[in-house]
């Protein structure tokens, strides 16, 4: 008798990193994962798409028209629909494509002499979108890729109904670096190009670290390997609100007497602030082309 919960991994536009993270968690937790059986995953094997599945896990975001139909179909087939990874939850890094118009994206790859209309190719939608724009998600696990402990918690939740609540704290809360009482920025630095003081908060050193607005749950894993947080777990507030709050607080932290402040050193401010969330931004003036 097969009492295992069935699992389908539905891929949209992503990098397969989320599937890898899932398998990585699977590898070290036999006891837990023996209760599940993967019955569909194009990445792993050539299975037939099932008619019903207990848990449908979607990775990646929506980029083609046909993705929308796939998504609606998968939503119907799954008892529980999980959005795994920042791409599925917020649009992820591919969401940055929204800064370009479609034609310039295509021209980057294909010669302008070729008209794609002559080929039977999937049609791109106007803007990259997260799957939440089309279907109701039951569980969202952010992270690029999602942290292993969150994936394990997800499966414990699916199996035993243990509560699954993302922490309501910022990455700064778990950050091991030393911070001072009054945060002052005296210099703007580019990460990895300029020397910084070891074991000191990145923000105080002038490297824009998104820790203050980013939801933790990742145990500040990037900071622990000496890299500023880029916000992959999503923000604690509404996305646009969080971004402007960050801008506002960084500008207030800057020491007005310092002569070393050169914000032109920040090459791609939008990309920095919205690295994983641009597709979910509600600002309507995102540049197109």
């Amino acid at each position: 008798m097969n009492t295992k919960l069935t699992l389908a991994i539905f891929p949209l536009i992503g990098c397969s990193g989320c599937e890898n993270a899932l398998l990585d968690a699977w590898r070290v937790n036999d006891d837990l994962f023996n209760n599940f059986e993967i019955i569909y995953s194009p990445l792993l094997a050539d299975f037939e798409e099932p008619d019903h599945v207990d848990v449908g896990i979607v990775t990646g975001n929506v980029r083609f028209h046909e993705d929308i139909n796939k998504l609606l179909r998968w939503h119907k087939k799954s008892k529980v629909l999980v959005a795994l990874g920042s791409c599925a939850c917020y649009g992820g890094i591919p969401g940055l494509l929204n800064l370009q118009n479609i034609q310039s994206v295509i021209n980057d790859i294909y010669s302008p002499k070729i008209s794609l209309d002559n080929y039977d190719m999937p049609k791109l939608i106007e803007n990259v979108k997260s799957i939440a724009e089309f279907v109701n998600i039951d569980i969202a696990i952010p992270g690029c890729p999602p942290p292993k402990n969150l994936i394990i918690k997800l499966f414990e939740h699916l199996l035993k109904g243990e509560p699954l609540i993302l922490p309501d704290k910022s990455v700064c809360n778990e950050c091991p670096l030393n911070t001072s009482e009054d945060k002052v920025i005296r210099n703007i630095k580019r990460f990895s190009l300029e020397p910084i003081t070891p074991n000191k908060c990145f923000l105080e050193e002038g490297v824009l670290c998104l820790g203050p607005i980013t939801r933790t749950g990742c145990d500040a894993r990037c900071i622990k390997v000496n890299t500023p947080c880029r916000g992959c777990m999503g923000y604690l507030y509404n996305i646009d609100e969080a971004v402007v709050k960050f801008l506002s607080s960084v500008s207030s932290m800057i020491d007005e007497k310092s002569r070393n402040i050169d914000i032109d050193k920040i090459k791609d401010l939008t990309g920095l602030l919205y690295r994983f969330t641009l597709a979910s931004s509600k600002l309507n003036f995102i540049k197109r082309g």
């Binding site: 207030s252 920040i266 401010l269 540049k287």
Partner: protein, 142 residues
């Protein structure tokens, strides 16, 4: 009557209570004429203006946003205008990357006694915005 085809920009002005707003008041008392396209919001200090206020204005159809505070060093709350200036610097960069001409955002200073200066700031800014034309944003979705 508004003539068809003439572009009359919508400008939102955030004026600090102690200087910018007082200067606007003085400009009125001096019967100084300046462009009527400015819609004034009084704030206690230019440092009170949050980037979200500015983005909200643009998103809801403003063609330009003007902030007028006390002269640098004269802020009644010590350094609010320095913070405002930094916010504007960041925001200009942000607006440009997102596709709005950064010249649509301007911060300037006028003390309570500078009614004329205030009127000139407004006129210059509005002239600049008229030259830029309507804001690049087409529709509102919030």
């Amino acid at each position: 009557m508004q003539k068809v085809g003439v572009f009359r920009p919508k400008i939102i002005g955030f004026l600090c209570n102690w200087c910018g707003y007082a200067a606007a008041d003085l400009a009125g008392n001096l019967r100084k004429t300046y462009s009527s396209n400015l819609r004034i919001v009084r704030v206690m200090c230019s440092g009170r203006v949050d980037p979200i206020h500015i983005l909200y204005a643009f998103q809801h159809g403003a063609d330009g946003v003007l902030i007028v505070g006390c002269h640098l060093g004269d802020c009644h709350y010590i350094n609010g205008n320095y913070k405002a200036k930094m916010k504007v610097n960041f925001l200009k960069k942000f607006l440009q990357e997102m596709g709005i001409n950064p010249d649509r955002l301007h911060i300037d200073w006028a003390s309570a006694g500078e009614g004329n200066r205030f009127a000139n700031i407004v006129d210059d800014f509005i002239y600049k915005v008229i030259k830029l034309g309507p804001c690049e944003i087409k529709y509102v979705r919030l």
